[in-house]
Amino acid sequence: MEILMQIRDLLCQADDQQVLQLVTKAIREKISAKEILEKGLLAGMNIISERFKNHEIFLPDVLLASKAMHAGLEQIKPLLIEASIPSLGKVVLGTVQGDLHDIGKNLVGIMLKGAGFEVIDLGKGITPEKFLETAQAEQARVIGMSALLTTTMPVMKNMVALLKDKGLQGKIKTIIGGAPVTEAYARQIGADAYAYDAANAVERVKELIKV
C-alpha cells in the first residue's frame, strides 16, 4: 500500500510531522493498526537499523527517526491495545544497586525503544528485588543491568541467583553491560547475554526474545 511505504520513507527522513499526518490518514482509510505498525513504522525502523549497523548513519539520526516512529505509534496505540497486538516485548532496565552511572543504560533504552520494545527504565541503584518486582508486574521478558564499578557487578550475579531461586531463570532473561563487564563475566554468573554497546544490546535482546 502506497501510504504505508510513504510512512516508512518519511520515518527514515525523520519527518515526525508528516509521519503523524499520514498515520492519521491511514487510520481514517481503515488500514489496520497491525499493518501500519509492521509495514509502515517498523519497516522504516528496520531500514534505519540496517543503515546504523552499516555505519551509514549515526546515533542522532536513529534518535530522530525513533521520534518520528513514536509520533506515529502514539496514534495507533489505542488500536493496537484494542486488537490485543503486543509490542515486541518489554524490557526492564536499570543501573545496579550502589552504582550511579547511567549513560550506557540510557543509550540502550533509547535504542530499544527505537527498535519497538517497551522499556521500563528504573533508573540507578536498583536492587535485584526491585528488578524482579517490576519485571513480574509488567510481564517483562528481559531484565537489562548496567554497572560501571567493579564493586557493584556482584549485584548482577545476585539478580541471576534470585531468578533461579524463584524458578524464573530462562523465563525472564538477563542481559548485562557496562565498562568493567565482559562476555566472560556474563557466562560466569549465568546471565543470558552480554552487550558491548547500545546497538549490540538491541541485537542481543532480539535474540533473547527471538524476534
Binding site: H55, L59, T150
Partner: protein
Amino acid sequence: MRPSVKFLSDDLIKKIVSEAEQLLCTLGIEMRNAQALGLLADHGAKVDREKSQVFFTPALIKKALKTSPRSFKLYDIPGKETHHFQGMQVYFTPGSAALYILDHETKEIRRPVTSDYISYAKIVSQLKYIASQSTAMIPGDVHEKISDSYRLFLSLLYCDKPVVTGTFTIESFEVMKNFQLAVRGSEKALLEKPLTIFSCCPTSPLKWSEVTSQNVLDCARYGIPVEFVAMPLSGFLAPVSLVGTLIQHTAETLSGVVLSQLARPGTPMLYGGSPAIFDIRYETTPMGAIETMMIDCAYNEIGKYLGLPTQAYISLSDAKRLDAQAGMESAMGAVLAALSGINNISGPGMIDFESCQSLEKLIVDNEVCGMTYRLLQGIEPKEDFPSLPLFQELLQEKHLLISKHTRRYLKEEIFFPGAVIDRANRARWKEEGGLDLEQRAHSEVERLIHSYKPSEMAGEIKNELITLMQTEARKYGQEKLPELRKD
C-alpha cells in the same frame, strides 16, 4: 620566556564563570548525601531534601573561593617535597584506575594482577619525568571490595613517590587514610606533608553520588588534597559547543570546591577534570580528540582565573595498541597541557579511553614528558651575545664539538631521550637488532624491573601497612592476600 598557549580571553572566562554560577544558583546540583546537604544548608544554600537538590548562592561560591588555597605541596614517603602545584608549574602522573593492562606477550588487554601492579610501581619509581605515581590499575586477583585500597597499599610498599588515588566505596576511605597515617605517624604530620591526592568525581550532568561527595567530606576532615574530576561529554551529556561544555564543567567543579571548603576551609584542591567530546559515529568519548584537549586547556585557564591549581586527564590515547595513534594523541596532549600550565597532568601509560595501562607506553610517555619539560624551558641566550668569538672559533676549528661553550651548555640546551627513542642511522639500527618502538620499550621495562632498588621504608611501617591491609581483606572474606615478592 616560558612558552605558553591560551584559548580564552579574560572576557570570555568571566562570562563562562558567571553562567556557571547562575546554573548553580538556579538549576542547582543533585547531591545524594544527607551530610553534604546539611552542611550546605547550614551555610545558606537552599536544599530540597526530597529531590536531593541543592541551590547555591553567589555568597557561598565567593566564600569558598576566598578560602581555597592558591597552591599546595606534595611530599614523598620519606617526606621530601616533590610537588609545588602553583602557577604554570607542571607535573605528570600516570593515568589512573585502569581496568586492564596491555599484555606485551599476547598483545591483548587483560585484567591486571598483583605482579603487574608491582612491576608498574617498580618502573614508575625510576621514571625521571613522572613525579608522582597513581593507583594506575585495578588488580583483579583480590576481592572487589578491596580493589581500591589494595592499589594504594602496593603503591606505598613499592614506590616512594606520592600517590594520586581515590576510593570506589565510602568504606574504603578509612583504611586508605590509615595507610597514610601509618607512613606519616600522625594526623598533624599528614596535614603538614600530604602524601596523596584523591580524585573526586561529580557525575555529569550536574550531580554528585553519595560515594564521591562523601569522599570530598572525608578528605577535607583530614586535609587530604582532592582533585575534582568532572566529565561532561560534549554533544551528549553537555552542550556540543565547547563554551557550553566549559560552563557545565565550571558549575560541576565549583560545586565540589564549595563543598570541600565548607567542610574544611583551606583544604588543598586541584581544579581538575576529564571531559571529552562525544563521537556520534562510535558512541565513544575520545580522549585523543583535539577538542577534548582544547576543553582541558581552557578549563585550566578558568581554574587559574579563579585562583586554583589545576589538573586534567590529557596526554593519553584511545588507541588499543602502542602504535602511531597512541604516540600521536599522547604527545599532542602532553605538549598542549604543559604549554597551558596544567599543574597535574594525568595520562602517561594510558590507552583505550582511560581503561588500559601499558608498561611499555609508560616508558615511551616518560620520554614525551622529558621532551615537554625541555620545551617549557623555551629559548634563552646562553652567552650568545656577542657571538663573534664563537663563530671565529667555529671557522678556525671547523667544529664546535669540544668548545668550552658547547661543553658548558650541551646538556642544558639539548634533551637526550632514552634508548626507547630511535635516532640511530639505519645501518646501526639494523646492526642493533632492528627493534621497533614496542620492542625497545619492553626491553626498557625489563631493565627497570631488574634495576629496581627497594624502598627504604622502616620495617615497622611496612608491617603496619601489611596488617592494615590483611585486616581489611578479612572483613570481606579474603583470608590471604596474593603473594608479594620479597623485595
